[in-house]
Subunit: 97 residues, 2 copies
């Protein structure tokens, strides 16, 4: 299992509209092969800052399966114009504790 994690900065004053749009976009990502779960978290200290966490079965389910899909084009169209700066997505593997 791989965790996709990214801090997102949404343009000022667009937070409510973004969250509403994200709800719509959630249906897209949830339908993808290898998708496990996702959640969006809103920062308490920094206005417009969010943390997106998506769990995938394998890295390629995100980097290839999702990003090279037609569904990703729709996801992008819905969400990318809210972000400034454009976010850098990274992937993480759980450390055994």
């Amino acid at each position: 299992m791989i965790l996709e994690a990214v801090f997102l900065q949404v343009k000022q004053g667009m937070e409510d509209e973004y969250e509403e749009t994200f709800r719509e976009a959630s249906k897209i990502i949830s339908s993808m092969a290898g998708y496990v779960t996702h959640g969006l978290q809103r920062c308490l200290e920094v206005e417009g800052k969010y943390l997106l966490l998506v769990t995938w079965e394998r890295l390629e389910d995100h980097t290839v399966g999702f990003r090279e899909s037609t569904e990703y084009q729709e996801w992008k169209k819905l969400l990318h114009h809210y972000y400034d700066p454009f976010p850098i997505v990274e992937h993480f593997k759980k450390v055994r504790l």
Copy 2:
């Protein structure tokens, strides 16, 4: 429920020792009032980068209960010297999707 989230940059070459020490330190945070769960994730793209996620019942369980405790002094002593730069911790609230 509040999510504490922070990207951590561990000094070069100290990753294995850090993970071992973090396992030890996990006992400290897990014993605190208001602690729900925590996990440490290692970045696939950036060497020495980690994501720490801790769920607390209330914001104050972390910012007051933990940070003003004697247990936090021990946590600090075990872990803080591994980080460069010193991380900025933020808190997040789940967006209803």
